[in-house]
């Protein structure tokens, strides 16, 4: 720290403190001056620091010091106090001085304080400098603000002018408002919070013959007393007036309803109908500032209303007026009441929501109404009072009546029509369901234009084409079988005057040729004129096939039956033959045996005769003659009995009761057996020529094959009228056995030739033949996997040839065998 110059101000009452000498010794420049003198000198202290003692007058010390010292504020001041003044010094130092030292202080303490004071002063000055700068800036800003203020002042003056204009205009508006209020058809009285009349319009005087200017400022109750007398029913007015005055006024939803209730009749010179309203008036701050009484002139409205009522009441059509907002019925006429089953009076106030059978209908209608403003010809179900729904057609329009959106509507009862329609639709649905699920094709065409009106979906089933997909001018004949088009042409294009059936074929794209059975019939008007042609077609292929199958199987059955009869006959014959054979065989056996025995006996007799008789037997003529007779008798008996034996054997063999199954037999033996049986038939008529080939044993049904031979041989014999030849030729060729029976008879005409195998066909006449013979032969040959052929020439003869495989046993499965 630098050694500073110190000015010590001494009040000369005290001794100089010791530290001064010590400072001086340390190199400090110390100047001592009397405080009183120093103050009088008025000069600024030229030192780094002032150490001063207090004046004798303690109270003024600070002032004195400060005045003098303030001349040079940069110099710090330190107080030097005696010990006893410490308390005072402490108080003082916080006011002006930076610091103080006690006179008894030691040098170091004083130096510290001096330095601190100097530092503090320096700091003070630095801060002072900054403050000054800030002050300068503020001054600048102030100047600036001043200028702005000047500008604002100007603007304000201008605004003032404008405001004056506005005020002027406002006063004009007030006039306008006045005019407006006056021009209202309603009488209006505005009162303040004290119910004193603020303003009343001209209508008030007009309605109630009151001087408007006179009543201003008067209490409303007073005026009302006068007003009430003007009404036809003052009590009603009182009631209404009281009610409206009490109720806090609010926008009433039920406007029309209220209107009715607010209706008052003025009993003045010119009769009026007015409605009383009361509205509380609020200012911007929503404070009540008064109330407006308004008497609306409803005369015209009521007149219109009456007119509307009259029109609507007179209309036979149901009319309705509802409020858009909530759907309440405001007005309805009697027909509507009848329609819905209500008294007209009760209808008012009902909400239309309850009237719709389906509430969604109402929403839909309202939506349209909102979009378009009207609904025309909407069909909807309405609920009657008794709950039964009724179909209505309604037309609605929205309009505004007395500031409310309303709906005016006319209804029309279409329930009957709707029911008829529904019934019709139901019946049509039924018809359609029937048509679409049946395999029958129905169609209908116009009689005159020949245009097709309806074709049922079965068309595609039957014809394989979808009718709708056909080109419009498609010729339906293209589907018909060419040979049957003629019939159809008549059906489609021709005149049908009565029910006509026909059958035809079509060409189905998938199934080929199908048989169709159709019926066409005309539909007549009540007058009897044909106006439509209807047709029904069905695919009868199946049935037709079935029928032909049936016919076929019927024929087969008949053949089988006749065959059965025949085989039954054969069985009976077999049994008979067996029985007869036994009966015959016994005597024949006895004869045969006895004859043999007799022959042996005669032989022995001869021997006996020869040995016993002396005469040679051969020489005895008598004996020889007798012996000749015996020999002849023997021969005849033998051939006769053997023939009987043979016939019986053949008969047994032919019947072949035991051989109904496939068996290997000698065909020729069968032929011989048969020939034996028909011998009586043939022997007088024909010569039998046998061209037998060498045949092995052939597997066949012997009994049945014999039957074929029998039939053919009998036919051959019968074909010969007088004398002829029957040639039997057998052959084995290519593993096929053939037996040919040819006659030289009358022959068969060509026409009959194709029918001879048909069951029941005969040329022999009733009683002679059954007509089954050849059909049975045919069937038997079928069983032999063979065939029967015929060739014939009239006048020359007929040749039948049966052919069947020689290896039948390997061709026919065991089961059938």
């Amino acid at each position: 720290m630098n050694k500073q110059s110190i000015l010590y101000l001494n009040n000369s009452l005290t001794v100089l403190p010791e530290f001064l000498d010590q400072l001086h010794e340390d190199g400090w420049q110390v100047e001592i001056s009397n405080i009183t003198h120093w103050q009088k000198s008025q000069s600024a202290p030229l030192c780094d620091i002032v150490i001063t003692e207090l004046l004798a007058n303690d109270d003024l010390a600070d002032v004195l010091i400060s005045e003098k010292l303030l001349l040079n504020p940069e110099v710090p001041v330190v107080l030097c106090l005696p010990q006893e003044k410490l308390e005072f010094a402490q108080k003082l130092s916080f006011g002006v001085f930076a610091d103080f030292v006690l006179s008894t202080c030691r040098k170091d303490e004083v130096v510290f304080r001096i330095n601190r004071a100097i530092e503090y002063k320096k700091l003070c000055f630095r801060m002072m400098g900054e403050k000054e700068k800030n002050q300068q800036l503020n001054t600048f800003e102030l100047a600036h603000a001043n200028i702005s203020l000047l500008g604002m002042k100007e603007t304000l003056e201008q605004k003032n002018v404008e405001l004056e204009d506005i005020l002027k205009e406002l006063s004009n508006n007030r006039d306008a408002m006045r005019a407006l209020i006056d021009s209202s058809t309603s009488a209006m009285i505005l009162v303040d919070n004290e119910d004193k009349i603020l303003v009343a319009n001209k209508r008030v005087s007009e309605f109630f013959r009151l001087n408007v200017t006179k009543i201003t400022g008067k209490p409303i109750t007073e005026i009302m007393k006068s007003v009430r007398t003007k009404f036809q029913n003052p009590d009603l007015f009182d009631k209404l007036h009281r009610k409206l005055g009490v109720e806090p006024d609010k926008p009433d939803a039920d406007f029309m309803h209220e209107l009715n209730h607010r209706r008052l009749e003025l009993n003045t010179k010119r009769s009026r109908i007015v409605a009383l309203f009361s509205i509380v008036v609020f200012n911007k701050a929503k404070q009540k500032i008064g109330r407006l009484w308004s008497f609306a002139d409803m005369t015209a409205w009521w007149q219109n209303d009456a007119l509307l009522h009259t029109i609507v009441d007179v209309s036979p059509m149901p009319f309705i007026v509802t409020r858009f907002e909530d759907g309440k019925i405001l007005y309805a006429n009697k027909p509507l009441g009848n329609l819905l089953g209500f008294d007209v009076e009760n209808l008012r106030g009902i909400k239309t929501v309850d009237v719709y059978e389906n509430p969604a209908d109402r929403d839909a209608i309202l939506k349209i109404l909102q979009e378009k403003g009207y609904v025309f010809g909407h069909e909807v179900k309405i609920k009657r009072h008794d709950g039964n729904p009724v179909w209505m057609i309604i037309s609605l329009a929205t309009t505004v009546l007395n500031n409310e959106k309303i709906i005016v509507g006319a209804l029309y009862d279409i329930d009957e029509r709707r029911k008829t329609e529904e019934a019709l639709r139901e019946s049509e649905t039924r018809f359609r369901q029937l048509m679409e699920n049946v395999d029958l094709l129905f169609f209908m065409r116009d009689y005159k234009s020949r245009k097709i009106i309806y074709v049922s979906p079965a068309f595609s089933k039957i014809f394989g084409h979808k009718f709708d997909e056909l080109p419009k001018d498609a010729d339906l004949l293209q589907f018909i079988h060419p040979e049957d088009r003629r019939i159809i042409r008549q059906g489609i294009h021709g005149d049908i005057t009565s029910k006509t059936d026909f059958e035809y074929r079509i060409i189905h794209p998938k199934d080929g040729i199908r048989w169709i059975k159709g019926t066409l019939f005309p539909i007549r008007t009540p007058e009897g004129d044909i106006y439509r042609i209807c047709g029904v077609s069905a695919d009868v292929t199946e049935r037709k096939n079935f029928l032909s199958d049936l016919e076929k199987s019927n024929a087969e059955l008949r053949t089988m039956q006749s065959q059965l009869v025949q085989s039954e006959k054969m069985a009976a014959l077999g049994n008979l033959v067996a029985g007869i054979a036994h009966e015959i065989n016994t005597p024949v056996g006895a004869i045969h045996s006895m004859h043999d025995t007799m022959s042996r006996a005669i032989l022995k007799l001869k021997e006996v005769l020869e040995t016993e008789c002396s005469e040679s037997v051969t020489e005895n003529k008598k004996i020889t003659r007798l012996m000749h007779v015996v020999d002849d008798a023997n021969k005849v008996i033998e051939s006769g009995s053997s023939r009987v034996t043979n016939i019986v054997k053949r008969l047994k063999s032919f019947a072949r009761l035991d051989e109904a199954e496939l068996k290997e037999v000698d065909i020729h033996e069968g032929l011989e057996d048969t020939l034996t049986l028909v011998h009586h038939e043939i022997k007088h008529k024909a010569e039998v020529v046998k061209n037998y080939a060498k045949l092995p044993l052939i597997a066949c049904y012997p009994g049945r094959l014999n039957q074929v031979f029998l039939n053919l041989l009998m036919n051959a014999s019968q074909a010969i009228s007088k004398k002829g030849v029957i040639t039997i030729t057998t052959e084995l060729k290519n593993n096929l056995v053939s037996v040919e029976i040819e006659d030289t008879g009358n022959g068969i005409p060509e026409k009959a030739l194709e029918k001879i195998f048909d069951p029941g066909y005969t040329t022999k006449g009733v009683g002679v033949g059954t007509g089954l013979g050849l059909s049975i032969c045919y069937q038997i040959m079928q069983d032999h996997l063979g065939k029967i052929e015929v060739c014939s020439e009239v006048g020359k003869g007929t040749c039948f040839k049966v052919i069947f495989p020689a290896n039948l046993d390997s061709l026919i499965p065991d089961k059938i065998k």
Partner: protein
């Protein structure tokens, strides 16, 4: 006409007298068989029961009792006697069935051949005799066997 045929008794049954006559005549003429003829099966059965019989020939279709039943009874009584049926009936199937049922020696169809019958009868008798001989031999063997067994016992006794 061998010696064997001597005393052989043959029973003939047929409801037809003529069949009996013709057959018995033939046998009488050509053989030495003793022939017994019956028109009724019942009578024949009585005879067969009480007399030695070597062969029976019967008709198939007869009243009262048919040939099959009759021969079945004969078998019951004397199974060793060969049985022959003679039939005029054409139903071979039934006949074969009958043969199997009753166990016939032979089946002869009417009308028959005398010579056939003679051979069949001879064969039948022969068969019977052979069977008899066989039986005799068997009996002999059995007897010998019994004796042998007795001997064996004796031997055993002796040794033991």
């Amino acid at each position: 006409m061998s010696d064997d045929t001597k005393n052989d008794t043959i029973v003939l049954v047929d409801d037809e007298e003529m069949v009996l006559t013709s057959l018995s005549s033939f046998f009488a003429l050509e053989t030495d068989y003793h022939i017994e003829v019956f028109t009724r099966a019942k009578d024949a059965l009585v005879y067969i029961e009480g007399n030695p019989v070597d062969l029976v020939i019967s008709d198939y279709l007869m009243p009262e009792m048919d040939g099959i039943s009759f021969l079945a009874k004969v078998r019951e009584m004397k199974p060793e006697v060969p049985r022959i049926i003679l039939t005029g009936y054409a139903d071979k199937e039934n006949a074969i069935k009958a043969i199997n049922e009753v166990g016939l020696f032979q089946y002869i169809e009417k009308p028959w051949d005398n010579e056939d019958i003679r051979i069949i009868v001879r064969n039948g008798l022969e068969k019977k005799k052979l069977m008899q001989r066989l039986q005799d031999k068997i009996n002999e063997i059995n007897k010998a066997y019994d004796e042998l067994q007795g001997l064996q016992i004796d031997i055993l006794k002796t040794f033991v």
